[in-house]
Symmetry: C2
């Protein structure tokens, strides 16, 4: 069932009602309150879920609230649960941004909305708000009941959210998630810059810090060079043993855990609308198409992120750092889980470190993680989204698996027992988590139409 013409027309003619505030990450609770107020103004009943406190940077901090929302309770209609996150990744102008990362810049020439969070994940949240606003202002009834779950800790492990969702589900008829028929999450990206996508898989993640400590304090390399066991020497050597130049993970048992693809699966990857130019433009490297796609979608990956506690500034400080943490993470695919991976990582690093016969101390710290996920693409939830994309974009979507992790996807799938759909709004080159993050204006406008149309198709689904 297509959306009413008046809906798409409203989105086109009200395209300038984009909020221009992408707030700083430390203002995340303020951002939550702002979002809550917007929802209330649109007639959405909400409650702010206190997720308690957590330890970070040596402090006990209040977690930003999860916002649970409810719009409509018509038993004759289907109920869609919508998820988004209102927090963003860190960003500094000095990282290489051309504009202030926390001021949304509308570049009329390129048609781009530029700023931290534009595509990940404030743009999609505003898309949903615009869908509701359009129906409110046009006086049209929503085609489905909607439930919301917006969180403010996605970029830092979604702390506290799983428990919150599971408790809400456990309340059964008294809970706000009672009667949810399907879930829709818009927090990922097209495979390319041309063709909308529906996503049925996500990689999980396990994030680690290798902590090496030696001397009681930082030392002068002139005074102590070649007289002490330097923690950096051990740490760098350990980090060098994690991943090979071609991306192969050197920790035994991790790459092997994934079954090889068969011919049918290979053809699936060959069919996708993708050229190596996409990866060249976005990442500056050349690879074979199927290797790139499988590398992202059906293989684990290991990335070295950096070192905490070492010299990281401009200049030439002659320090022997005494206490350092090497950060890396592994993206996981089925059947891998953090529970299966963590012992392999610990055992390998401990065995390698033992070979050094070092006087330093080493511990592997597991910081956070999430399981990978795959969904059934033949479900009516995916069919509804496919029809919405065909109606708005006049194209058949790519069916993709995503390389990133959104742990809450699995929480919804497992605790609600319903189909979960990932319906991306942005493009592959948006630069999420990177400098100069953007969302194309056309993706925001047409994407908002897709979100609205999807709700109509869900409402009409058998």
């Amino acid at each position: 069932m297509p959306a009413p013409a008046s809906f798409s027309n409203y989105i086109d003619t009200h395209a300038d009602t984009i909020s221009s505030d992408a707030r700083r990450r430390q203002d995340v609770i303020m951002m939550g309150n702002w979002l809550n107020g917007q929802l209330n103004e649109l007639g959405v009943e909400t409650k702010l879920m206190d997720l308690g406190t957590h330890e970070m940077q040596g402090q006990t901090l209040q977690l930003p609230p999860a916002i649970i929302g409810r719009l409509g309770s018509d038993p004759a209609k289907k109920t869609v649960l919508i998820y988004g996150h209102y927090d963003v990744q860190p960003a500094l102008k000095t990282d290489g941004w051309k504009t202030d990362p926390f001021t949304l810049v509308v570049d009329e020439d390129s048609g781009r909305l530029i700023g931290r969070g534009s595509t990940d994940d404030k743009g999609p949240i505003l898309g949903w708000l615009n869908v509701i606003e359009a129906h409110k202002n046009l006086g049209i009834a929503m085609p489905v009941n909607v439930r919301f779950c917006f969180e403010g800790m996605e970029e830092n492990g979604s702390e506290g959210l799983d428990e919150c969702i599971q408790e809400e589900v456990k309340k059964g008829k008294d809970g706000w998630f009672d009667g949810v028929d399907c879930v829709c999450i818009s927090d990922n990206y097209w495979l390319n810059t041309r063709t909308p996508a529906l996503t049925y898989g996500l990689r999980g993640i396990a994030y680690f810090s290798i902590n090496v400590t030696g001397p009681g304090q930082d030392l002068h390399s002139g005074l102590f060079g070649r007289t002490v066991h330097e923690p950096m020497t051990d740490l760098i050597k350990l980090m060098s043993k994690l991943v090979d130049h071609n991306g192969d993970i050197l920790i035994p048992g991790i790459d092997d855990m994934v079954p090889p693809h068969d011919e049918e699966e290979l053809r699936l990857y060959q069919k996708m609308d993708y050229t190596t130019e996409d990866i060249e433009e976005a990442a500056g490297g050349k690879e074979k198409k199927t290797v790139v796609l499988m590398g992202r979608m059906r293989q684990p990956s290991l990335s070295l992120h950096g070192i905490q506690g070492a010299f990281s500034e401009v200049g030439a400080k002659t320090v022997i750092p005494a206490k350092i943490g090497g950060k890396f993470s592994i993206r996981l695919v089925p059947p891998q889980t953090p529970e299966k991976i963590v012992p392999l990582v610990n055992a390998y690093l401990e065995a390698e470190f033992a070979k050094f016969n070092s006087k330093n101390k080493m511990e592997v710290e597991y910081l956070h993680g999430g399981k990978p996920w795959v969904a059934d693409v033949r479900h009516w939830n995916f069919e509804a989204a496919k029809k919405a994309i065909e109606a708005v974009y006049k194209k058949t979507p790519d069916y993709t698996r995503e390389g990133g992790s959104i742990p809450v996807t699995l929480t919804f799938a497992e605790s609600l027992g319903v189909n979960v759909l990932l319906l991306p709004m942005g493009r592959a080159d948006d630069g999420a988590h990177s400098t100069n993050e953007k969302l194309d204006r056309s993706n925001f406008i047409e994407g908002t139409k897709v979100l609205g149309t999807y709700l109509y198709e869900v409402g009409a689904a058998a």
Copy 2:
């Protein structure tokens, strides 16, 4: 010739006239102006040497001035050139300081003066000022003519100073360094916490950054993990190939360049007042005494300092850094020089990187360096200092070589052609360049007496 009793008595009774301002590094020019004013008040004629500008952190910055000073021109007296530096290493409270690093704290319980620069190198400069003040206030003539050279860029490669000194020397009779008979530098430390030292050798240094660049911008490890050649993988692998766990330098030709010690030299190291407890207390490691001492004094060392451009904060950012620089430096001993070392480093890293067959770009950047140095300990300059130490401390000094680098030492030795002496004020556990840097009050007071007495012994030398 001993110093007059009134001099030592003055230093004892005026021990509280310690200036309490250790200024922030960015205020280094202000610090220079303050020091210049102090010198003028004490009757020292000065000129501020404009060292021009340099490029740092993408900006063109005015270099802090070198202060050249002159006190006395009696042709019947010897002339001593005194060097010190009024800049300090960076320091943040969050690095692990127990007190604000830029406020001098006098801890009465431990008898320590705590703060950035207390021992490196503001304490010794204040010692010299106190020697002059004592003579001025007591109305005693100085036993020698004194020339000063105080700079504000020592901790960042002494930019501009070499040329300044060389030009001053070239002026001959019109220059302020005309007639200098010897040089005294107080900018290092005793070998231990008990016995004063005279230092006749310094290691040089060559400081490098391995710059690896790949993608056009930082990337999200979920989106791009296992699809691009990650610069961190290459950089960490290169850094892991520089130095072994036991401190051996893996770059071919560097360790080999140093001739092995003979039996006589070994005995020299065995005789030094040193126990492994000294290194245990200061660095938390156990080593054999001669290995530790030779490691610091007669062997090169390679330290990995950190990575610029990677994730270095608390937390768990899932970034693939696009442009990173791995910082390391090599401490040099004769016959090594930066000129001999740099090509070896470049050739090795380029060859190793070529083996990776990586699509990233790598360049080895040589940031700064200085040659190593050794002096003749039988010279009257060293004899004068030995007598001063015996007079004040009632102990025979250790004759040491130092692990750090003070490139200006070599500049003075080569351009003036006179003997240069290193006369340390602080102890081995002072924590120069580290957290909670301190100078023991007793070292400051007795050390100031040594500086004054040394001038008398120079004056009396044949």
